[in-house]
């Protein structure tokens, strides 16, 4: 579905990303980890087609990203970026409906488009919010509306930039659950994550970055090794298994370590 070869991105002679390879198959969830400034968000922006590559190649469904027109791109991939303030107070319904935009190219909107919007609002349990103004929603409510907008794009690939930021554990789990089920339906998911333990439970594979270079890539148990994490984050980590057999990772503070 998505293949990236030898990715490089340079700003003014400095490489923010270099020599990255990655691929996502349908039904797969890839988590991107790394300390602040390691190039996670830049990588996501490159994959989204927002900024041009300095080096390498990204293939989406077998075609280079650069040949896609923005609307064709939007029918193939959907992006959840950090929430911003809205320019004007739209209703939740209007925001969710915006997800239909790439499908409306050159035609008028039909009842079907509105039916879909309602269905997706329902799926994320945001239907009762539909006539509320976005600025009056809480962070969790707002995130659910954004989710409905993403679903409305009916894309094959989802790119998520720290989707659980500012969410309490319940909303965070709901959200990750939703993307897991989307993956089960055949979508590919790439998510930038901060929480190592959530990443461990949520992702099929993990990519660990440091300074724009790959430190490790592979299954969560392979990547979430204290020595690799220490190399990336420059803090000591300890790992153990919880009773269900899932790995739990915690950083060790300098005094205790």
């Amino acid at each position: 579905m998505l293949e990236a070869h030898n990715l490089g991105y340079r700003v003014g002679g400095r490489w923010l990303l270099k020599g990255l390879h990655l691929s996502i198959a349908p039904g797969e969830v890839l988590g991107i980890l790394g300390p602040n400034g390691s190039g996670k968000t830049t990588l996501l922006r490159l994959l989204a087609g927002e900024i041009p590559l300095s080096e390498g190649e990204i293939l989406l469904e077998g075609r280079p990203l650069a040949v896609y027109r923005p609307s064709a791109l939007a029918r193939t991939r959907a992006v959840l970026s950090q929430l911003q303030e809205m320019g004007f107070p739209f209703t939740a319904y209007e925001v969710a409906f915006l997800g239909r935009l790439p499908h409306l190219e050159g035609r008028r909107e039909k009842t079907e488009d509105h039916a879909k919007t309602l269905r997706y609002l329902e799926r994320v349990q945001a239907l009762p919010l539909k006539e509320r103004l976005l600025p009056t929603l809480s962070g969790g409510e707002r995130m659910r509306v954004e989710m409905a907008r993403l679903l409305n794009q009916e894309a094959k690939l989802y790119l998520l930039d720290e989707p659980t930021n500012h969410l309490d554990p319940r909303y965070a789990m709901d959200l990750l659950q939703l993307f897991r089920s989307l993956a089960q339906e055949g979508a590919g998911v790439v998510a930038v994550l901060h929480d190592l333990n959530l990443a461990c439970r949520f992702a099929d594979r993990l990519l660990l970055l440091k300074g724009g270079r790959m430190v490790a890539q592979g299954r969560p148990e392979e990547v979430l090794q204290p020595n690799l994490l220490q190399e990336a984050y420059e803090v000591a980590f300890q790992a153990w298994e919880d009773p269900s057999g899932t790995r739990v990772i915690l950083p060790l503070t300098a005094t205790r370590g």
Binding site: R45, A48, G49, E50, I51, R69, P70, S71, A72, L73, A74, R75, A78, V79, S81, Q84, M86, G87, F88, P89, F90, T91, Y93, E94, V95, L98, G99, L101, P102, L104, E105, E131, R132, L133, T136, L137, S138, G139, Q153
Partner: protein, 345 residues
């Protein structure tokens, strides 16, 4: 998060209702504007006068009032829609066509013509609009060139460049004014204060193609502008070519404002107030906002002009003073009401 009051508006019904009311209001206003004026003509006699096809009354109606009322409607629509589009583009409800330097660019074009082309009085009625339009376009082009970065056009840079350009153009106009003769100065002030008394059929027909082109450029932007309210990156994620959108929006509004300014001079406030009022009454969805603002702008401009030419007849008030005087308080009232409604404050 504190408890939010749960309230619901039938939003789309409200949009449609607002458009319907405006669609009825505009023809009514046009008839009112054509029927009332300093020259007393009984409204019921108008059909008979038009059928007769001659006489002073016929001249007043067909040569003076009709082009004037239609010109006001066109200028109002152009300013309001350009205002709505620019507000959407900059994601800021306080943006005015004057902000990105279109208006002052047009003003500079006009000032250059008046001061630098000597003995131009006889040509003025026809050449001035062209210069104003060119000035507006040139300013926008310069702005575009300044605001471009390797990563596309950033709105913040565009805004800053607009501010810089505005003050530069303002200084250039100030320089021209201090270098101009008394008579040229009179032309400049007439022109910068604005008004519809100079609108003739010829001027109207000359401006019409530009106006239509501007509307054709601006109206299809509605969906893209809706996406843009989420942010520039989000708009791109939704398949909007943000740079193409910006280019079309800036070109369209330069064309619209340039044409409006050329026809009527600096008639302020409509580009700011009309989109605002529509948003407060109906909502911010650009699919309704753009046509709604255009209709509302037309209505406001025709009414303001009607008052300007009848209140102190046979003399006339500058229409810009009226638009500000009437628009301001009403607008403030709506803002206060809106604040109460949404924030319960």
């Amino acid at each position: 998060m504190v408890n939010q009051p749960q309230f619901s508006f039938p939003w789309t019904r409200r949009y449609r209702l607002a458009l319907l009311v405006l669609a009825i209001l505009l023809p009514t206003t046009l008839l009112l504007g054509a029927g009332i004026g300093a020259y007393k003509i009984a409204p019921l006699e108008i059909p008979a006068i038009l059928l007769k096809g001659e006489g002073v009354e016929y001249q007043v109606l067909t040569a003076l009032r009709f082009p004037r009322v239609l010109g006001a409607a066109l200028v109002g629509a152009l300013l309001a829609m350009a205002g709505a589009v620019l507000q959407g583009l900059f994601r800021n409800p306080l943006v005015d066509p004057g902000l990105i330097g279109v208006s002052s660019g047009a003003a500079l074009g006009a000032a250059l013509f008046i001061v630098l082309v000597p003995g131009s009085a006889s040509l003025e009625a026809y050449a001035l609009p062209v210069w104003a339009f060119l000035g507006g376009l040139l300013a926008t082009q310069a702005l575009w060139w300044i605001a471009r970065t390797p990563f596309g056009t950033q709105v913040a840079i565009l805004l800053l460049a607009g501010i810089a350009l505005n003050s530069l153009v303002g200084a250039a106009i100030g320089l021209l004014i201090s270098a101009s003769t008394d008579q040229q100065l009179r032309s400049l002030t007439f022109w910068t204060l604005g008004g519809f008394s100079g609108v003739t059929w010829r001027l109207l027909l000359a401006g019409l193609p530009f106006a239509l082109l501007a509307l054709c450029l601006l109206l299809p932007l509605a969906r893209g502008l809706n996406a843009l309210t989420l942010g520039e990156r989000e708009a791109f994620h939704l398949g909007v070519d943000a740079n193409a959108l910006k280019r079309q929006a800036v070109l369209g509004s330069a064309l619209g404002v340039g044409t409006a300014v050329a026809m009527a001079g600096g008639v302020g406030f409509i580009g700011l107030v009309a989109p605002h009022l529509f948003r407060l009454v109906a909502g911010p969805d650009h699919r309704y906002l753009l046509p709604g603002s255009a209709l509302l702008g037309s209505v406001l401009a025709v009414l303001a002009d009607l008052l300007a030419r009848t209140l102190v007849a046979p003399a006339e008030l500058p229409v810009g003073i009226l638009t500000a005087l009437l628009g301001g308080p009403f607008f403030l009232y709506l803002v206060m009401r809106f604040k109460k409604e949404v924030y319960r404050a």
